[in-house]
Amino acid sequence: MIPTAFEYFAPKSLDEALRLVERHGDEAKLLAGGHSLLPLMKLRLSVPRYVIDIGRIKSLRSIREDAGALVIGALTTHHDMETSELVGSRCPLLAETAAEIGDVQVRNRGTVGGSLAHGDPAADYPAAMVALDAEIVVAASSGTRRIRAEDFFVDLLTTQLRPGEIVTEVRVPASPEMSGSAYCKLHQPASGFALVGAAAQIALDSNGKLASVAIGMTGVAVRAYRARAAEAVLAGNKPSGKLLAEAAEKVADGIEPLADLHASAAYRRAVASVYARRALETAISRANERKA
């Protein structure tokens, strides 16, 4: 119900925030929208001594284009993402994914940076981020670095983030012509998180063959991942029902699915396949619509 007491900082600039995280290290938690951190603190599963509220750093809340890439500030809320015209036109997969997160109130406060940094294996964004080959930009007082989304997620609630680092933005490369995408999600009925979430980003060539295909999966394993074996089946080929099914079968190859109260490993594996196929089917039909 009630968090433990902590000391509170509300830096106005990134530099100030970086100094604070460096000073307080492990004893500090970053607070952005608060929708990952505060629930844990209220249940006293997280008991930070210092809370650094980065929510007032204006430079982190923007959506812009830069050298062909879509650059999304860490403080962009799920609602911003869902409704941004720029995201909608340049990267509909992210808008579609954002719309599937939690509920309206959560989307109004939760931020993309907060969600990614939390590393929840059932969060929605990671599927899209890995499918999009997004880069997560993190800053430290020593400088910034870019981490490929696929490498960013390490394990349950564990990312590549080092102490003293702050996620500042996400860079998403531009989608090619004649591309289509879709995010298909099986909700955990109580929490609304993804039991299985499949993000597909594909592009067709002029012959209707798959010029590129990327499948990102979340909810299935301890971390979001790219379904490379499934992608390999499809790449360069003309999509058919049979081929999609064959690819979908491989979506959890080499993966050890999670098992919990809400789904066994076997069920997650089976549904991962179904949802990946559905995401691919939708992505392809959308690409065809764009073509037409």
């Binding site: 968090p3 509170y8 607070l31 505060l38 629930p39 249940l43 309206v104 109004n108």
Partner: protein
């Protein structure tokens, strides 16, 4: 160690020194005495604590009071146009008109979520209403009369604008 905050709630400015861990819902209820917003869970799922922060629906149990420093907040008590005259917001009127409540515990949050929805989308369909209210649980009504209330309010608001 307390932190000084200043915010506007229902059109009034408040300056308070608060413990950083104080949740916004507790600030509203315990400090300001605005008990119309409720607490129904501790996991950000029930939506009974929903208030508008800078016009957006927010679960005030998942926000620190210090995060609301400088914000403009509307609670159910502040929704009526002129509460002293008994003037009700069209969404409030609609909930009464269409029997959109039973025990009333979820109602303030439900109404505020509906207000935000109708601000974003003046003519929502059934599926859009259901989706917009997904963050507000109701255990009494089965939601159907709530949906009807929101539709009724939408019609009313649209006709007012004309």
């Amino acid at each position: 160690m307390s932190v000084s905050i200043q915010l506007r709630v229902n059109g009034k400015t408040y300056q308070s020194a608060v413990e950083p861990r104080l949740l916004l819902i507790h600030y509203l209820r315990e400090v300001l005495g605005l008990t119309g917003s409720h607490i129904g869970c501790e996991t950000s799922l029930c939506g009974t604590c929903t208030v508008l922060v800078n016009g957006r629906a927010v679960k005030s149990c998942t926000m620190l009071a210090v995060q609301a420093d400088g914000a403009e907040i509307t609670t159910i008590e502040g929704l009526s146009a002129a509460p002293e005259a008994g003037g009700l917001h069209p969404v409030q009127q609609a909930f009464r008109e269409k029997h959109g409540l039973q025990c009333g515990f979820c109602t303030p949050g439900m109404i505020l979520s509906a207000v935000q929805l109708l601000g974003d989308n003046p003519n929502p369909g059934e599926a859009e209403i259901r989706r917009a209210l997904a963050g507000n649980l109701c255990r009494c009504t089965g939601y159907q009369h709530i949906i009807e209330s929101v539709r009724y309010a939408a019609r009313k608001l649209r006709s007012q604008k004309r």
